[in-house]
Symmetry: C2
Amino acid sequence: MFNSIKRLLIGRPLKNEAIHGEKFKVLWGLPILASDPISSVGYAGEEILLVLVPAIGALSFLYMAYISIAIIGLLFILTFSYSQTIAAYPSGGGAYIVAGDNLGHTAGVTAGTALVIDYILTVSVSIASGVAQLTSAFSALAPYHVLICLLILAILMIGNLRGLKDSSRIFSIPTYAFIVGSLAMIVIGIINFKLGKVVPHVGIPHVDAVRNLKETGAVSIFLILKAFSSGCTALTGVEAVSNAIPNFQTPASKNARKTLLLLSLFVFLIFGGITVLGFLYKVAPDSTGSTTVLNNIALIVFGRGIMFYFYTASSILILVLAANTAYSDFPLLMSIMGKDGYVPRQFSMRGDRLSFSNGIIILSLIAGLLIIIFRGEVTLLLPLYAIGAFASFTLSQFGMFMRWRKIKGKYWKMKAVINGFGALTTGIVVLIIGLEKFKRGAWIVIVVIPILVAMFMRVKKHYNALAKQLSIKPEDVANFNKEDNYYRNRVIVPLQSINKSSVRALRFAKTISENVIAFNVSTNEEDAEKVNEKYKILQTEIPLIVKYSPFRKVLTPLLKFIESAEYDYQKGDMITVILPQFAVKNWWQNMLHNNTSYFIRKELLKHKHIVVAIMPLQLKDDNFVLKSSKYK
Amino acid sequence: MFNSIKRLLIGRPLKNEAIHGEKFKVLWGLPILASDPISSVGYAGEEILLVLVPAIGALSFLYMAYISIAIIGLLFILTFSYSQTIAAYPSGGGAYIVAGDNLGHTAGVTAGTALVIDYILTVSVSIASGVAQLTSAFSALAPYHVLICLLILAILMIGNLRGLKDSSRIFSIPTYAFIVGSLAMIVIGIINFKLGKVVPHVGIPHVDAVRNLKETGAVSIFLILKAFSSGCTALTGVEAVSNAIPNFQTPASKNARKTLLLLSLFVFLIFGGITVLGFLYKVAPDSTGSTTVLNNIALIVFGRGIMFYFYTASSILILVLAANTAYSDFPLLMSIMGKDGYVPRQFSMRGDRLSFSNGIIILSLIAGLLIIIFRGEVTLLLPLYAIGAFASFTLSQFGMFMRWRKIKGKYWKMKAVINGFGALTTGIVVLIIGLEKFKRGAWIVIVVIPILVAMFMRVKKHYNALAKQLSIKPEDVANFNKEDNYYRNRVIVPLQSINKSSVRALRFAKTISENVIAFNVSTNEEDAEKVNEKYKILQTEIPLIVKYSPFRKVLTPLLKFIESAEYDYQKGDMITVILPQFAVKNWWQNMLHNNTSYFIRKELLKHKHIVVAIMPLQLKDDNFVLKSSKYK
């Protein structure tokens, strides 16, 4: 039942050999890796305006331009800084690896944890933002906002559990569509404005309306920083290229750097261009939250026609695609951390379809929980976002800085300066975001990261301790092969009554040891007498020990007996307790049998030198038994 | 944690020897056994009036008197009939035993099932009625009706799990208090009326008020039967004496019959007397359900003084006590049926405190569920009640009738007539109740009884089939003792890597068999190579089989291998699979280990001739391991 549903949703299991998919060139690599940063124009600009407009009205777009320039500047710093990482780590240089390699394990795990949180938020934020674009264009869907978010999440989860690799080229289409659509919108929008062909936009919030209400307020450094920290979400996902180097065709490093440069160029053009459009048309964010700025700009430029719907669709799809990138990044990072022993090793096992299913499921659960808690509202989710990404940028770039200082080499000072500057700026951004968004939710991330890091370090400690305990020393091997160092194997067969099942257990016991006893716990004298009588029928030399248990417990007398002088337990003895078990035909029949065997097993396994052997007796169908003459 | 809460609520475990409590004479036997029938005056009279008053107004009390006489007549028939059962079954003659003995298993199980249902309803109805008396006297408690019911249920459950026997004499007090209080109320009430000292009863529903609204309607036979069937609930619990014979002091039979006669006398006096009072004062049932007739009569007779509160308290306590009798009857019946194999045998095992804990818990759960479903309303619960009791009366008395016909003996014809008449009248009552209350809920019981009977018979069939499969034949004994008929014992040690745990398993394997193989499943060539390399270190002659599993499944290759020609499985081989298992110190560490071992075990146990031996490795505390030089 469960299996067939699973097969239907996830598909048939795949062989190991199916894992080697095709590697991508720049043309196909770009759209997959670029979807996260490029899609963030869907919310980053709006968040900046949400900070500025209520405070300074129409002046907002001027300052938004300044802030955008700062963010684009930051993007270029990151691009330079990361292209050095790509060159230095041709086999993949995510923050976890680079920081761990150059700054020590704790820094690596911290960078990894920051990224883990960031990936989760990428999913929540991108889906929430995509659905916001959808409900902005089709307001009838607004009441089902959270439900639609969860539906998309479920589709992404199932899709990724199936393994999406084969069809990755299809995913390029919405990215290119969005890039082409955005560039077209920017060009048409600017031309229209120059030609004075501005469509009057009824019902779209206009900054001048806000200005009428509020005269230009004071532009404080505080306000600018707040707006800047809101806009930095546009840069999350830039690190994706450095993770993905092994997926590029040779020369992988070179192709990856090309991709990174192109990605930066597109973010620059689209983020900058849409800022210009906002500036020209003065579109204010909708204080009711029912429409988005991007959607309203598209409405002004294209009118409610085919181009508008095409662009809206592509803006939704690219956001879903951005969420999807986290679905490949998160499970991969978890699998690497699992292999290193910082998270449960189950994360590094591939599922039926070769995807890291545990990572995919955990990601979906947490992202879904966040969507539900924050009612799928982008503005509520965003304060948690970006801080993780920038923390990992900082650690990664600082790690590169330390690396150049250590290994030196050609032009090392210049390289160290570039990465050092990258670390410094991203570090400052972390501080700004942390301070500006602290009260609105960033504190959650600031509290959670150290807790997770501590947990991961504790897990690693456990695996280390385990490895030490399990490691084989030469004397173990010598002992193993010594003839006289076998365990003295003794067998106890607990029996409630003398029946075929217990006879079978006794018969098996005789094959594995010379030292067998049968053990019965009686709760009254009559039963004890009965068992003794019936045992005589077997005419066996195996002694039967009957113990009286006034408290009707089965296990305690057995454990007491093992420890007693009567049993004479010697060091080096291995005691095998054989527990017969019925395997019934129907589920309900299980309820008819005393399940004490389960508890006995659990308790026995807590004791050293006790092996529990379960001997199943396959019961036949009741009707068959009662009709068959064999059992008469 | 769970254990300490359990100890606190239930108390320390008791020894078997603690079971022999004192036996009771008539004086102490009566109140315990009488609480159920006597307490039903709390609702039986009211239910009759609820049927009559809306139809025939003030005429109701006259007809109620007729109906009460009929019910009391029925009581005397039952008393005679049952006193013969007591004489014939001195070791306890419940309906299940008497019907099973004389009418065959199916009749016995049917009678048992009917009683099982009746006991459950005794609990629900008595508690609901007791709480109705309480909220009638203290209307502020009315909104918490269901909650109070469940609270009392919980107290009864815990009390009975602890075992209440020691304090059974305390339980006599409310019964005697209620008997004395009722008789006093009847006497005072009648004298007051004769003396014309009738207190004007403000706010108490009066039949004349109803009469004003509705002129005397037609008195149909239908109406009378309906009212009669509602009143029959007064007689449930009469069978309790016949179950309890072994608890009486010798001469048990004689004492039991005395008790039964006294019981009938008190029911006659109290039920009859309160009917007379109702007739004199014309108290109508409260259509809003917020006060009870019994409570209102007490209010008129005693006024709102100490006597009123004393009587109300005793009427509540006796109802709780009635519920409590079901707590000794139900688990006992289930334990007898469990011993016979009709219900899971777990019901016949005594818990820590020597009570049949499983029966007590199941009874509480179902009764609680009924209270919740029927919102704790007596009127909604009552249609389900009494039908089970009367069905078991009928079967039991008919069983006695058949018994006399078969064994004959002194005066057998007279005895047969008495029991036959008992069977006939109770049988007619079953029909009346079934028809009159069918739509109001009796259909549930009529549907459930045959379903339960079928289930119980199926359970018995399973136990029969099991017994047949498990029974030992002479050839089994002969085979068991033949020297050459041992199992050929072969051992497989599945290993993921070569570590202390797997070496320990191999070492143990060597002690139990000459025929050992190590088995590894690899998901890629590298791993296979690594395991092979490391295995060589052990310098052992045990062969290592490495199988490649393209689908990353562990179990399938193992099962395939066992069935393969390579392994050469022979008939009579017993294969022991040794599964090493880690026993960790903390619960969270369990999550860090691959739990495939559990699934492997479950699957392996489905196969014949495979014994699964679990070999636990007790892991040491992480800190200890990492600090201790022993593990360096």
